[in-house]
Subunit: 653 residues, 2 copies
C-alpha cells in the first residue's frame, strides 16, 4: 500500500481530502474573502473536528510515552514573556530571518528563500534546455557549479552574503521581476506590551524552553535534589514568519512539546535506562557523511552509535542520553503512524545550529515537500542556565556533596575594606559584589594583570554612581592570591538535552504517510491512522433509516461512550458504501453496521478500514473486540481469526 | 472534614502549601526579583508538575464528559486574531474596563475596584467605631445607605458615573492618598501586528468563541446539515488586566474550555437528552431573588426549573438546552472535586451581562475570595453569527426544507437596470448588492419612506466612487412592493448557548474545596482530590533505602507505568511518615510501601490518603486494587472490606 501511495501521491488530491473532511482550514477564511479585509491571516490554521481529535490523541500519547513513562515533570508556562528574558536568551538579538523588500510590489521576501527559489528555477530551466525540452537560458558549466555550491550551503549565509548573491546574480522577485532592496534582519517574535502604562514590552514565546529554564531551582527542589531529571512543556509558540507557505509546515502559531533533560556533564551524560533500548536500530545521517556530499542513511544500533567509533575515531552519537532520546523519539513516531522507510535522523551541520546548541539531531520525515524537521534533539549544553543565572544573579546550578572533600588551589581576591569604604562610598557594596562574582579563570588573568600594571578593571552588574559599569582597582585596595581551599561540595551548571517536537509538522507528515487510495480509484482516499490516534474509533451505521434500527445504534453509541471510545453515528440516507468511504477518509478504523438481522438476533457486523474485511457476532462480542483493538491487546488479524467472517451484505461499493 | 476545613481555613497556610509543593508559581519570578527589571509579570503564573498534571486531568475529564459524551465537535483555533474580527464582534469597542491614573504614584487603578475598595473600607471603619473598636471616621446614616446602595449595583456604572462617585466622595488612591484623574476606558486585549509590513493589526483572543463562530458553515457541513450541534475549543485566552490581584483568579493568560451549542430558536430550544437529567436538583439563585435583596439558594429539580412556573408566571430557567447544560456542568464540577455545599448557579442581572448575551447563569464556587464565577452559561442568541455574516457577506445560517411549502407576503425591491447603469456607472453593481441585502423589516420601512418622500437612502457595504457609503435612490429607479412568494425552505440564524469554563478558576476553587488538615495540626495539610484528577495516583515508598528493596519498587513503578498510572517512587531517607505527609499535600490518593516482608513473601501495603487506613496483600492483588480504584470500579471502602487490614508498621507519624 505504501508503495502505491508514494508512487501515485497527488498533493492536490490529498489536501482536498484534508480540507473536505475538515482536518484543518485557514483561520478567519470568511474574513480574508470578505471585501475590504486589510488583515493578514497567512500562516494561521484552525483544526477542525478530526484534526483536533488527532492532535489531542497525538498529544495524549506523547504524555504517556514521555511524561508518564520517563517520569518527566510537566510544566505549563505562559506564552507571554517579558522582553528581558528573551534579551538574555539571545532571541531579541539573534532570532531573526533576513528579508528583502520589493518596492514595486510592496512585497517582503525571505532572502534565503528568494535566492533558493530563483537559483533552483534557473538550474531547472537549464536542465530542460539541455534535455531539449524548452526555450530557456542555458548556463555555462562554471555557473551551474556555482549555483549548486550556493544551494548546498545556503544555511551558511548571513544577510550581507545573501545581499551580495542577489546583486551578483541579479536575483529578482519572481512575481513581477522587480529588483529588491538589500536584505535586512526581521525579528520573528510577536511584540506587544503588558499593563495599562504600556511601558513593559513583552514577546510571545518562540519556544517553550525558557519558562522551563527559569523554573530550574524549583524543579530541582521538587525532585528532592536528585539529578538527572527532565521537565516538559506542551503549548503554543509563535513565530512571525516573513512569508509563510507550505501549509501546516510553516505557520505563525503552532503547538510544541518540549523536553528539557538536565544532566551532570561529569557523568559523561550516561543514561540509566540505556540498556533497555541499546539494540534498537536507527536510520542515521551524520555530519561527516553529509560533508562528504552523501545523504545515505545508515541503519545502526544505538549502542554501536554511542559506544562504537567511526573511522574518524569519534562516536556517531555523542552520549547515551542523546542516544536514548533518539530511540524514544523513533518509537514514538512509529506508534503514531510514521512510516519507518520515510524517517531519518540527521545531524545538524555546524553552521545551521541555533545560537544556543552545541550538537543537534533532527528526526526528519519525508513528505511531498521534502525531508521535514519534525523533532529537534539538541544539546544546549549549559548555555541557557548560565546566561539567566548571570543576568538575574539567581542560582541555577546544582551543588552536591563530594564523597571525600578535596583540597584545591584557588584564586582568591581580597578587598581592603578600610580603603574601599572611604574611597568608593555608596559604590563600595556594588564593588564587593562584583569582585566576589569573579570566576576562577577571570581571577587568574586579573592576578596576572595586577602584577604587571598594578591596576585592574572589574565590571559591575549594576551601574555605579557616576554611571560607569566597571571600576578600576589598584593594588593597594585589591589583592589576588592563590590559596589552598578544602571543597566539601561540587557545584555545576547542568547541561541540557532538548527533544523538541513540532506537533503540527508531525501531524501533517504522518497524515501524508498514512494516506493512500483504493487501487485504481484516486477519489477513494484512505487514511490508515493507527487506532491509537485515529480521531474517531468507530462508525456506527444503521443499514437503512428504518425506525427499528435507531434504538440499537443509540444504545451502542451510549455503551461505547461509557467506555470512552469516540464514535459517530451516521444515520444518513446515503448508501452504506458512501458512508464507509467518508469514514475511510476520516481515518476511522472500525465500522459497525446495524441491519434487520440485528433486530432479530442481536448480531452486528464489524468492518476494518484497511482490509474492508468484516466479521459478524453478538453485540457483546463486537464491543469486546472493539475494546481489545482500542487498548492494543489484539490486532485485526486476531479478531478476524476468531470471529466469523461476514460477506453477504453492507459491502463496500 | 469539610467542616473542619472551612471553619479553620487559613489562606496563608493553603497558599504556602500550593507554592511549597509547586502547584504553581509566578512566572519569571527570578527576573522580577533581579536588579533593574523593568517588566511586569503580574497576572502571569506557571503551573508546576502537580498543578500541570491536575490541569491536564481536569481537561482530560472535560473532554470525556463533554466532547465524547455529547459528541461535540472540538476545534483548535488560533489565539492570534485579526483586528477586523474583534471589531465586528464588539470587543474592540466594548471589551474595556475603566481606569484612573494616580499621577503622584504613576499607578493605574481599575475604577470600579477603587470605588469598591475605598467605600468598603469606610464602611468597615464605621462599623468598628460603632462597635467601639477604633478611632475611625463615623459616617452618618444617609451616607451608610448611599455607600451600600452603590456597592450593590457597582456593575451598573460606566466610566462617567464612576468618575462622578470618585469626585463626590473624594475617593483617592489608598496607596499614598493621592487624587486620581477621571476614569478612561482601557481595552483589555493585547495588541500586536502580523507580518513584516506591520500594517496588519491583530489581537490575542479574549475568548475562544469567535473562532468557532467563523467556522459555523464548515461545522454544519461536517455534521451533514443536522441541527442542533455543538462545537468546543480548549485553549489559552488573554486579557490585559489593569491591575491583576487574587492569585490564580484574575490572570492575564488563562486556559478556557468553551462550548458553542447551536440551536434552532423555533424548537423552543428543547433538548433530546433532557429526560436523562430531568430530576437532578440544582442550587439556583435566580434574578428575581437577587433583586428582592436575597441571596438564598433554592434547590430545584431542573425539570421543575424549566417546565414549572414561578410566582411571576415565568420559568426559572428559560429552556431545556440551558437547563441540560447547567446539570451537566454541575455533574462535571462534582466529579472533579467541587464541594456541592459551596456551589451555586447564579443568574446574571440585566446590567452585568456581556454585550452579546441575552441570558446568563454562572456556576459559582465559594472560596476564601467569596463566590467565584467558574463557568458562565450564556445564551448569546444569534448575536455573533448575525454580525459576522453581515460584515463578511458569508452565509452563517441554516436552510431547511419545509415539510410543506408556504405562501408568504414579502417585500421585494426592484431596480430599473436601464436607468441604474447609465446613472451610476461603476457603482451600479455595488448598489444592486446593497439593495438585494436589505431584510424584510428594512424593506417595509423603506417602502413607506418611498411612498412619502419619493426618495430613499440605502447604505452600501463598500464605499462608492465618490467615497459615500450610502446612496440616494428615487422612485424612478427603485420600486418596493409586497408580493406573494412560495417558500420551500426556511432560513434561520441559530441561537447559541455557551457554557464557558475558566479552567484556572475551577482548578483553584476545587483545591480550596478539597483542602483540610489533620485534626489539631494545621501544618499537616491534605488535598483530598478525587483519584480521577489527582496529579499522581500512587506513591511508591521503600521503607528503608536498603538495596534489596530497590528492584521491587523499580519493577512496580514500571508495571504501573505500563498501565498508564502516574506514580512516583520516593526512595529518600526521610521517614515514611514524612513521605506520606508530603504526598498528602500533593493529593496523592494511594501509597504503596515496600518492606522486608515484601522481599520475603511478595506482599505490599496500600495506604489511602484521607483515612490513612492500610491493607496488605500480594503485588498482583494490590495492583488490581489500584487499577480498580483508578478506573472507578471500586471505592476504597470496597477495597478495605475485601483485603486484609494492616496496622503493624509504616504508620503515619
Amino acid at each position: 500500500m505504501a508503495a502505491t501511495a508514494k508512487s501515485s501521491f497527488s498533493r492536490a488530491q490529498f489536501e482536498s481530502l484534508l480540507k473536505r473532511r475538515f482536518f484543518f482550514t485557514e483561520s478567519f477564511e470568511i474574513y480574508r474573502t470578505a471585501p475590504n479585509f486589510q488583515g493578514d491571516n497567512r500562516g494561521l490554521y484552525d483544526y477542525g473536528p478530526p484534526g483536533c481529535a488527532l492532535q489531542a490523541n497525538i498529544v495524549g500519547e506523547w504524555r504517556n510515552h514521555f511524561v508518564i513513562e520517563e517520569n518527566i515533570m510537566e510544566l505549563d508556562c505562559t506564552a507571554i514573556t517579558p522582553a528581558d528574558v528573551l534579551k538574555t536568551s539571545g532571541h531579541v538579538d539573534k532570532f531573526a530571518d533576513f528579508m528583502c523588500r520589493d518596492p514595486a510590489k510592496g512585497e517582503y521576501l525571505r532572502a534565503d528563500h528568494l535566492v533558493k527559489g530563483v537559483l533552483e528555477t534557473r538550474l531547472d530551466n537549464h536542465a530542460k534546455v539541455v534535455a531539449g525540452q524548452g526555450k530557456f537560458t542555458k548556463l555555462d558549466n562554471a555557473t551551474v557549479k556555482d549555483f549548486e555550491a550556493i544551494l548546498a550551503q545556503l544555511d551558511n549565509y548571513g544577510g550581507p552574503e545573501l545581499g551580495e548573491l542577489i546583486e551578483r546574480y541579479d536575483i529578482r522577485n519572481p512575481n513581477g521581476d522587480g529588483k529588491v532592496l538589500p536584505p535586512v534582519p526581521f525579528n520573528l517574535m510577536f511584540q506587544s506590551t503588558i499593563g495599562p502604562s504600556a511601558a513593559a514590552p513583552i514577546y510571545l514565546r518562540p519556544e517553550t524552553a525558557q519558562g522551563q529554564f527559569l523554573n530550574f531551582q524549583k524543579l530541582l527542589e521538587f525532585r528532592r535534589g536528585a539529578m538527572p531529571f527532565a521537565s516538559a512543556c506542551i503549548g503554543k509558540s509563535y513565530r512571525n514568519e516573513i512569508s509563510p507557505r507550505s501549509g501546516l509546515l510553516r505557520v505563525r502559531e503552532f503547538l510544541m512539546a518540549e523536553i528539557e533533560h538536565f544532566v551532570d556533564p561529569d557523568t559523561s551524560k550516561s543514561h540509566e535506562r540505556f540498556a533497555e533500548i541499546a539494540n534498537v536500530q536507527l536510520p542515521l545521517l551524520d555530519r561527516e557523511t553529509q560533508l562528504s556530499g552523501s545523504t545515505n542513511v545508515r541503519s545502526v544500533s544505538i549502542v554501536e552509535a554511542v559506544h562504537g567509533k567511526t573511522a574518524a575515531g569519534k562516536a556517531l552519537v555523542d552520549n547515551e542520553t542523546l542516544g536514548y532520546f533518539l530511540v524514544r523519539i523513533y518509537l514514538y513516531l512509529l506508534k503514531i503512524g510514521a512510516d519507518p522507510s520515510r524517517m531519518r535522523f540527521r545531524q545538524h551541520l555546524d553552521n545551521e545550529m541555533a545560537h544556543y546548541a552545541s550538537d543537534c539531531w533532527d528526526a526528519e520525515l519525508l513528505t511531498s515537500y521534502g525531508w521535514i524537521e519534525c523533532v529537534g534533539c539538541a544539546d544546549r549544553s549549559a548555555y541557557d542556565l548560565t546566561v539567566h543565572a548571570q543576568h538575574t544573579g539567581s542560582s541555577l546550578h546544582v551543588e552536591v556533596t563530594r564523597p571525600t572533600p578535596i583540597e584545591v588551589d584557588a584564586w582568591q581576591a581580597e578587598l581592603d575594606k578600610k580603603v574601599l569604604g572611604p574611597r568608593f562610598k555608596k559604590d563600595a557594596k556594588k564593588i564587593e559584589t562584583a569582585v566576589s562574582a569573579l570566576d576562577q579563570e577571570t581571577l587568574a588573568s586579573l592576578a596576572d594583570e595586577l602584577s604587571q600594571k598594578a591596576v585592574i578593571t572589574v565590571p559591575t552588574a549594576e551601574p555605579l554612581a557616576n554611571g560607569d559599569s566597571s571600576v578600576q582597582l589598584s593594588g593597594d585596595i585589591c589583592t589576588i592570591q592563590k590559596v589552598k581551599r578544602v571543597e566539601h561540595t561540587r557545584k555545576y551548571i547542568p547541561n541540557v538535552i532538548e527533544p523538541s517536537f513540532g506537533i503540527g509538522r508531525i501531524l501533517y507528515s504522518v497524515l501524508e504517510h498514512v494516506y493512500w487510495h483504493r487501487p485504481g480509484d484516486v477519489a477513494r482516499g484512505v487514511l490508515s491512522l493507527p487506532i491509537l490516534v485515529a480521531p474517531t474509533k468507530v462508525l456506527i451505521a444503521p443499514l437503512s433509516n428504518n425506525a427499528a434500527l435507531q434504538p440499537v445504534s443509540k444504545n451502542l453509541a451510549a455503551r461505547l461512550r461509557r467506555l470512552r471510545i469516540a464514535n459517530d453515528v451516521d444515520s444518513s440516507s446515503t448508501s452504506i458504501g458512501k458512508r464507509y468511504a467518508r469514514n475511510d477518509e476520516l481515518g476511522t478504523p472500525l465500522g459497525v453496521t446495524i441491519d434487520f438481522e440485528t433486530v432479530e438476533n442481536g448480531s452486528l457486523t464489524l468492518r476494518e478500514r484497511d482490509s474492508m474485511a468484516q466479521v459478524r457476532a453478538s453485540e457483546d462480542e463486537i464491543v469486546q473486540a472493539i475494546c481489545s483493538l482500542v487498548e492494543g491487546r489484539e490486532t485485526w488479524a486476531d479478531i478476524y481469526k476468531r470471529l466469523p467472517p461476514f460477506t453477504s451484505q453492507g459491502q463496500d461499493e
